[in-house]
């Protein structure tokens, strides 16, 4: 039985460093190649030595697919391709291809230039890595090789986020990456057709949450920001440069305009303008509304939001600052946080998920004293608010996707084990399909049961269809017969006669003849007539003919009558049939030996 193996190297019962190996139909595919934000050591990257102990990965992988540009999905890519070594194709969508190298470079700068780490990938490696990228368009079927094909679907998580359908022969797997089933202010909702994959590999970040409507969350968010500003406090919103940031900017921008607010909004420098520019150029990837109105007014040209300068953090008075990165683990957001943490008037709003080990995660768990580098501690007095704005599907969304795609098996990654367990139970209960949740390095195996594609001769098919009538009767299935010819790699199903002809074989006729003696005091034609009537009454559903040349035909069995030379009352019946009618012929000879019923 063919099987599909799925092994997470990262994101197995965990969030961060997504990297999932799939082997399907003899092909090996790596899905995402991310890094872990919570670690600064070797655990930061997936353990590629699982694939091979020594040397390059090229010969072990048929392709690598990146779902979107978040670093926990693509952060290890240059390390994998340039430092470990992989020269095969890397697939990602156009926006991901555009934005991914910028984030990688940014990340590299923080790690190498600021923290002074060595043994990390270089700018050149990022460039070389990006040369191996093949861009994907939505819904385009890309033939990786003769057997392996992949197709991208809209995932709605961030700009350019995609789900991928991977198909080899009649086996298939769908990997969702991160996705969002509810459209938001700048992106549409994820969508997939009823592709019935053997396995659906889904993220499960919010496996146990069912979120209230987006409107309420937005109102809450605006209320909190507004209150804080009114008090004269400063609001820090740690974000990643692309994605949620743009959604929240659109939200605040419209709110500021409506309420005629004057407090400044800043966006940490560097990526901002560039990021917004990407949104303008990739407007086809945003939601319907923005796409429709972009000619008149581009939603990504903000009036109220200005670039941030480091010195502004000490300015008096209220302000709102969007700063990167989103989990407060490094960079500008952390610097501002340190400055503002001591004042209870201030507020930090965490609009997304924080990975374990980051400061964001700590303060969200209520930790009020933070140990910083150099043994100093930081008292956290400011308000900490969490708003789930990250665009992941919640439990309801995951179920919705399962209904859309109708997978035969389910596999959960990118979530916490306890939450996964809960969702797994729910999925198995509701859809009665198997649900797997392998840990890192653990392999989940799914046996598939593919049908065998065969070429049927059109003659045979048409004959069968015609016999079946226009509306087939489900209670009376018709059986069709044919010969399957297996020649090299081709499988052809033809009628038996055709098979003989195609293979250049002669038919061998096997016939049987049987004489049956019968006591019947009538003339020969009368006897024949009596036999005809008798058979007619016994054999329902068969074609029985009384032919003028003095024979009775039952299907293709010939029955003749002659009188015995010695006794004219003893009739000799001659039955002759071919092997194809063996069952019937054998039955008839036994039947006629018993004689004709007297009632005739």
């Amino acid at each position: 039985m063919p099987e599909i193996n799925v092994t997470p190297l990262g994101a197995g019962q965990d969030v961060g460093r997504s990297c999932i190996l799939v082997s399907i139909g003899g092909k090996n595919i790596m899905l995402d190649c991310g890094m872990h934000m919570g670690y600064n050591d070797d655990r930061r990257f997936p353990d590629f030595s699982y694939i091979t102990q020594n040397g390059r990965l090229t010969e072990f992988l048929d392709c690598v697919i990146i779902s979107h540009f978040h670093l926990d999905h693509c952060g290890a890519l240059p390390y994998m391709s340039e430092m470990v070594g992989y020269d095969g194709p890397i697939y990602m969508t156009h926006p991901t291809k555009a934005i991914c190298p910028i984030l990688l470079e940014d990340f590299r700068k923080i790690t190498v230039d600021k923290k002074g780490e060595t043994n990390f990938f270089t700018s050149q490696m990022i460039k070389d890595c990006m040369k191996k990228v093949v861009p994907l368009n939505l819904h385009q079927t890309v033939q990786v090789d003769d057997e392996l094909e992949i197709k991208a679907y809209y995932a709605g998580h961030v700009l350019g986020a995609a789900m991928v359908h991977i198909k080899v022969g009649s086996e298939s797997v769908v990997y969702t990456g991160d996705y969002n089933m509810t459209p938001d202010r700048h992106l549409g909702a994820a969508w997939i057709d009823k592709c019935r994959p053997d396995i659906l590999i889904s993220e499960s970040t919010y496996a146990t949450t069912i979120r209230d409507s987006k409107r309420c969350r937005e109102r809450d968010f605006l209320k909190k920001v507004h209150e804080s500003i009114e008090r004269g406090g400063k609001v820090l919103i740690p974000v990643f440069a692309l994605g949620r940031a743009q959604e929240l900017c659109i939200l605040l921008e419209t709110f500021w305009e409506r309420m005629n607010l004057k407090a400044p909004i800043y966006f940490s420098t560097g990526l901002t303008e560039k990021a917004n520019h990407y949104y303008k150029l990739f407007i086809t990837w945003t939601n319907q509304k923005i796409r429709k109105t972009f000619v008149q007014r581009n939603m990504f040209e903000f009036k109220h939001i200005k670039p941030f300068d480091r010195s502004y953090a000490d300015n008096p008075g209220p302000m709102v600052v969007f700063a990167t990165p989103g989990m407060l683990h490094a960079g500008q957001s952390l610097q501002i946080f340190k400055k503002w943490a001591g004042n209870e008037k201030n507020m930090v709003i965490m609009p997304g998920y924080c990975v374990q080990g980051t400061i964001g995660h700590k303060i969200l768990n209520g930790q009020r004293k933070l140990e910083m580098e150099g043994r100093s501690t930081l008292d956290v007095k400011l308000q900490v608010e969490y708003m789930s704005f990250s665009a992941h599907a919640d439990a309801k969304g995951i179920m919705q996707l399962i209904r859309m795609a109708e997978p035969r098996n389910m596999l959960l990654v990118h979530g916490e084990a306890v939450k996964m367990e809960f969702l797994k139970g729910k999925i198995e209960q509701e859809f009665s399909i198997d649900c797997y949740m392998p840990a890192n390095g653990e392999t989940a195996t799914v046996t598939t049961n593919p049908s065998v594609p065969v070429d049927i001769s059109l003659n045979l098919l048409k004959r069968e269809m015609a016999l079946g009538g226009p509306l087939p009767d489900p209670k009376k299935p018709r059986t069709m017969h044919g010969t399957l010819i297996m020649k090299e790699n081709s499988l052809k199903l033809v009628s038996s006669e055709q098979a003989l002809k195609d293979l250049g074989l002669n038919e061998h006729q096997l016939r049987f003849t049987c004489r049956v003696q019968l006591q019947d005091p009538h003339s020969d034609p009368d006897t024949l007539q009596r036999i005809y009537v008798h058979l007619k009454s016994v054999l329902k559903g068969y074609t029985i003919q009384h032919l003028p040349d003095g024979t009775v035909m039952v299907e293709s069995i010939v029955i003749k009558v002659s009188s015995s030379t010695e006794d004219p009352n003893t009739k000799v019946l001659l039955l002759s049939w071919s092997y194809q009618d063996e069952d019937l012929g054998s039955f008839l000879s036994t039947l006629l030996k018993k004689g004709l019923p007297s009632g005739l």
Partner: protein, 552 residues
């Protein structure tokens, strides 16, 4: 695409229209522009009597020669456009779309304009390609996808260049030179054009040319109700552009340089000549506007304005209309006329190269392509010459495509597949008899195992059961091969049948089993068993014979 509303709105069409996203968006703009132009034309009483053949015959040229005037239609409305476009389902290049389970269609880049596509229609065994309006030149769109056209049974070829003798690159050079010459002489340049397509290339060409030709201060105007939208839309379809332009987006920079022309105020666009344009208009200048037929749209005003002065120039770039016909109503005209049609579609030379590469079994094309154009009947290079000769078609003709369907795909379910017993007939060739239930749904066929008949309920009339005729069952397979005499005799012996008298005949042998009064006739292509009143013997003999034969 411009005639789409006529089909979807007036014929009772209920189907789906497939198109790429740029085709939909830009097509919408062009239709919107057309509707807008038509609405500006004063509504006169509609006259139809002239369409009567008798009256039309008496009318002056060219009305007299117009064919099938009864089929002429009014322009559609914006409402009809919207309704027509609501039936469009978007597809991406190389996307495989299943139609009724029977065929699969997918669009391929044709390299002619943004989102333009050739189509493949294929089943599991047949493949038809539709190649229309394709270009092998490197302009702004994604290059033409040729490799996917390979292995076609039939290739339908249309939309070749209208200007087989004009070289687009040369025309572009001529265009720039004439433009510069007129401006230097203080004249204005009028370029009648469509609002999308070649204009992007013209603007790009001018972008490079402006500085070297010292045209930095000359204003360029693009006037169309959809000018802004067209320029904006062109920038957001990076996925559909050539590699060069695509990589610009990664920087991120707009893919087309006309963004910079607009930013630096060298290129200005207006919805019409009214409003802002009339106050900001400076001469000498270059104006791009429609409609290229010169019959309607803003271009008409410029013809009236500039037609009388010989320092002005009109440059025709669109190949769809004869420039002489277009100019006819404006004669006498002092304005200079330059004709440099830019048609990047395939010419005959390129077609020959393409077909050599793609190698379709048959080519179907309009009959015009099978002979040289009437005006240049000596140019035998301006026609398609192929082996086998192309199948020509003309308007309203119904063609039978020259292929025979022989096979269809059917799926054998795993349970049945496991139960098949293949036997090797010849080296490398195995056969297995298949008896199965055929299920056909949505043009997809599957074979399932024959369900086991429900066990016969224990019948009270046991005696009757014995006499029930056998249910119609799987007919026995056909047999093939021959029964070798010696081996057969040996087998008989093994089964205790020893008294066999062998008699030679013309075609084979007759075996006489004397003890049982049974005859077996062995021949090359048949075996005949004559056996009375001994059913067990007959079945034994049957099974022994079958051992030597192959079942199909």
């Amino acid at each position: 695409m411009m005639a789409l509303p006529y089909i979807t709105e007036h014929t009772g069409f209920t189907g789906t229209v497939y198109a790429t996203e740029p085709t939909l968006q830009i097509g919408r703009l062009l239709m919107e522009e057309l509707v807008n132009f038509m609405e500006r034309v004063p509504k006169s009483q509609s006259a139809t009597c002239w369409k009567n053949k008798e009256i039309q015959r008496l009318l002056p040229c060219p009305l007299k020669d117009a064919v099938e005037v009864w089929t002429w239609k009014r322009s559609y409305s914006m409402q009809e456009v919207n309704s027509a476009l609501s039936k469009v389902q978007l597809v991406g290049y190389s996307q495989k779309v299943e139609l009724f389970g029977a065929v699969q269609i997918s669009p391929l880049s044709s390299g002619y304009s943004l989102g333009s596509s050739n189509w493949i229609i294929q089943s599991h065994h047949e493949k038809v390609s539709y190649v229309s309006g394709s270009s092998l030149l490197t302009t702004h769109p994604q290059p033409m996808d040729q490799s996917s056209l390979k292995n076609s049974d039939v290739l339908i070829l249309t939309g070749l260049t209208q200007m087989p003798t004009a070289n687009p690159d040369g025309m572009l050079g001529e265009f720039c030179n004439n433009l510069a010459m007129t401006i230097r002489a203080g004249g204005n340049v009028l370029v009648p054009c469509y609002s999308s397509g070649v204009i992007y290339d013209l603007l790009e060409c001018l972008y490079q040319f402006i500085d070297s030709a010292n045209l930095g201060t000359t204003p360029f105007y693009f006037i169309s109700p959809v000018a802004n939208s067209s320029l904006e839309f062109s920038q957001i379809f990076a996925e559909w552009l050539c590699h060069n332009k695509q990589s610009k987006v990664y920087l991120p920079e707009p893919p087309f340089p006309h963004a910079e022309l607009i930013q630096t105020n060298k290129l200005k666009h207006y919805p019409s000549i009214h409003g802002d344009f009339s106050s900001e208009f400076r001469q000498p200048c270059v104006v791009f506007t429609g409609h290229p037929s010169l019959r309607f749209g803003d271009v008409v005003h410029f013809m009236e304005l500039w037609g009388k002065s010989s320092i002005n120039t009109i440059i025709f770039t669109e190949p769809d209309f004869s420039y002489l016909d277009a100019l006819a109503p404006y004669q006498p005209l002092a304005m200079k006329c330059v004709y440099c049609p830019i048609d990047t579609r395939l010419n005959f030379h390129q077609v020959a190269k393409l077909l050599k590469e793609v190698q379709p079994l048959h080519v179907v094309c309009p009959e015009q392509y099978t002979q040289p154009p009437p005006s240049q009947s000596h140019r035998s290079d301006l026609m398609l010459e192929l082996q086998p000769p192309p199948v020509p078609y003309r308007r309203c003709s119904v063609l039978n495509l020259p292929f025979r369907r022989r096979y269809e795909r059917v799926y054998i379910l795993p349970e049945l597949a496991n139960s098949l017993v293949p036997s090797e007939i010849k080296p490398g060739i195995s056969v297995a008899t298949v008896s199965a239930v055929l299920h056909s749904k949505d043009n997809k066929h599957t074979l399932q195992s024959v369900p086991k008949p429900p066990p016969v309920p224990p019948s009270k009339k046991r005696k009757r059961v014995m006499e029930e005729p056998p249910v119609v069952q799987a007919p026995k397979p056909l047999l093939s091969g021959a029964v070798p005499l010696e081996a057969f005799l040996a087998t008989l012996q093994k089964h205790g049948i020893t008294e066999v008298k062998v008699e030679e005949t013309v075609d084979g042998h007759i075996l006489h089993l004397q003890a049982d009064d049974t005859l077996i006739q062995l021949e090359e292509d048949g075996t005949h068993i004559v056996c009375d009143n001994n059913e067990p013997l007959r079945t034994t003999l049957r099974d022994l014979v079958l051992r030597f034969l192959q079942k199909l």
